[in-house]
């Protein structure tokens, strides 16, 4: 056993060999039987972590594989118009995703404890990585107009169009669009890293409430606008007024969701009825973060799902009849619908900008109105009454 131990110890960095030997030596003082076996198993696990499969290496490798796959899929051909801008966008986004966590770790520490922070961080990164290839797929289809009337057999791409995805190969303004998208991505990544970091003051409950509300909102919004958002809901399975209840629900969740999430997070943070300024400020802070997270998660989710669906319909012809199942609908007609959908895909980017701002405003308003910050002159609880705001039970 000692020989085996010495043989494998060289796999470890010099600074770690003593520790593995320490675990193994300590096993002699652990009661024999299952307990000693479990102790040694812990040593083997530790050895695997330190020598064979360091967690950071695994995470970095997984990210590298995912980023490489996304970049490979999204890489434009040299012949494509504005290929340089697209390539810059792909490289810059990957570098942003790779570099910001290293910077963030220095100032705000690694990811926080608990599943909420890890789930939100991994999910956010997966969503942003997924957006790289789907943007590239949707981007080359700017304003397309059908020719030959209702047959929709021939489409003409307008080279002068400003519709379509910002920064697309043949759509909107290339360089300003790419830079705008990069700045937006950076903002999302920075906020994501901050709220999920160990040294952040955002509690796991706030993250859970905000993420849960955001997922619900994102799914409802996707059911309203699965193929971009124009003047009307774009759900092909709920034409006309059939989508109205969902539209109403989406509005309620957009405006009321952050308020509800904010109030819930504020109350969960500290259920003690009190009127100290510090306590009230802490509650409002948690509530505002929950509201912003809710709407940001919702916006990101609907963007990924919607743009992804449009990209799939563009690339995979067999899926189009599943979506556009109107009678007498030809393949060309279905393709035409998809191209029109790609025009409205840019509204998803607008959602990513506007929704978190709405979340911030609504949650701040809601929490501040229901749980206002007391004035300095308000008496403390138990010190008598007076002209003061009633405490919440």
């Amino acid at each position: 056993m000692a020989t085996v131990g010495r043989a494998v110890a060289w796999l470890l960095p010099a600074g770690r060999r003593d520790w593995i030997a320490a675990v193994w030596a300590e096993a002699h003082d652990v009661p024999p039987g299952l307990e000693r076996l479990a102790w040694r198993a812990g040593g083997v696990w530790m050895f695997a972590r330190e020598a064979l499969v360091p967690r950071r290496v695994v995470r970095a490798a997984l990210f590298a594989v995912a980023a490489a796959a996304a970049a490979w899929t999204a890489w434009p051909d040299s012949s494509v118009l504005h290929a340089a801008a697209d390539r810059f966008g792909v490289i810059a986004t990957v570098l942003l995703l790779a570099g910001l966590p290293l910077l963030a770790r220095r100032f705000i520490g690694p990811v926080g404890d608990g599943w909420a922070a890890r789930f939100l961080r991994v999910g956010g990164y997966a969503a942003i990585l997924a957006l790289i290839p789907v943007r590239a797929a949707v981007g080359p289809y700017p304003l397309t107009v059908p020719q030959l009337g209702s047959d929709l057999r021939v489409f003409v791409a307008s080279g002068n169009s400003t519709h379509g995805m910002p920064g697309s190969s043949a759509g909107g303004p290339p360089w300003p669009g790419e830079i705008f998208f990069l700045v937006l991505t950076a903002c999302y990544v920075v906020v994501l890293l901050w709220v999920t970091s160990r040294r952040s003051s955002v509690t796991p409950a706030t993250l859970t409430i905000g993420t849960g509300a955001g997922i619900v909102f994102g799914l409802v919004m996707f059911s309203v606008a699965p193929l971009g958002l124009g003047s009307y809901a774009s759900n092909p399975w709920l034409p006309g007024s059939q989508a109205d209840p969902l539209v109403v629900l989406a509005w309620i969740l957009l405006l009321g969701g952050p308020v509800a999430a904010g109030l819930l997070a504020a109350r969960w943070h500290c259920r003690r009825p009190g009127r100290s300024i510090k306590l009230a400020q802490a509650r409002i802070g948690q509530g505002v973060v929950a509201g912003v997270v809710a709407n940001a998660v919702g916006a990101l989710l609907v963007t990924v799902l919607g743009t992804g669906l449009i990209a799939l319909l563009i690339k995979v012809e067999r899926l189009r009849p599943l979506v556009y199942h109107a009678p007498h609908s030809s393949a060309a007609a279905a393709y035409g619908h998809v191209l029109h959908a790609s025009q409205h895909a840019s509204t998803y980017i607008a959602m990513c900008v506007v929704f978190p701002i709405i979340g911030l405003m609504m949650s701040a308003l809601g929490v501040a109105c229901v749980m206002p910050v007391p004035r300095q002159s308000d008496p403390q609880p138990g010190n008598g009454g007076g002209d003061s705001v009633p405490a919440l039970s």
């Binding site: 770690r16 003593d18 520790w19 030997a21 320490a22 675990v23 030596a25 300590e26 002699h28 003082d29 652990v30 479990a38 102790w39 040694r40 198993a41 812990g42 040593g43 696990w45 530790m46 972590r49 330190e50 520490g109 926080g112 404890d113 160990r198 040294r199 952040s200 003051s201 509690t203 500290c270 259920r271 003690r272 009825p273 400020q281 802490a282 802070g285 948690q286």
Partner: protein, 127 residues
């Protein structure tokens, strides 16, 4: 808003165990029994604390006959200062949470006693 601790809950439990006897060398199994942590969790924590200079480690000078030398651990002066501060902050947060829960339920938490539980105690535990 108050910042959360830079140490995880498990790390705080290790620091608390080391703080009990800050000048005494302790071995791994004793720490594991005090904290309830398994070896695969405890030793990575000790490694990280040692890397940060908060814990110092050494091999036992005079091993027990028939047994290998044991690895011993204790807090450094910097570790003692960090641990004291972190544990004080954690105790403060725990007291705030306990007060909040008590105020939120409007009644004191039921104590768990051995033997048949009284109906009131069961109701308190589930509230």
């Amino acid at each position: 808003m108050a910042s959360r601790s830079e140490f995880s809950a498990q790390t705080l439990s290790v620091l608390a165990a080391l703080c009990d006897q800050p000048s005494q060398w302790q071995h791994g199994y004793a720490l594991a029994k005090q904290t309830g942590l398994k070896s695969g969790t405890l030793y990575p924590i000790l490694i990280r604390l040692a890397d940060r200079g908060l814990v110092e480690a050494c091999w036992q000078d005079e091993p027990t006959p028939g047994r290998p030398r044991r690895h011993l651990y204790r807090l450094t002066s910097a570790g003692l200062a960090s641990a004291t501060g972190a544990l004080a902050s954690a105790a403060e947060r725990a007291a705030e949470r306990a007060a909040a829960v008590q105020a939120g339920t409007g009644k004191p938490r039921a104590r768990v006693r051995p033997g048949p539980a009284a109906p009131g105690a069961v109701a308190g535990m589930t509230s």
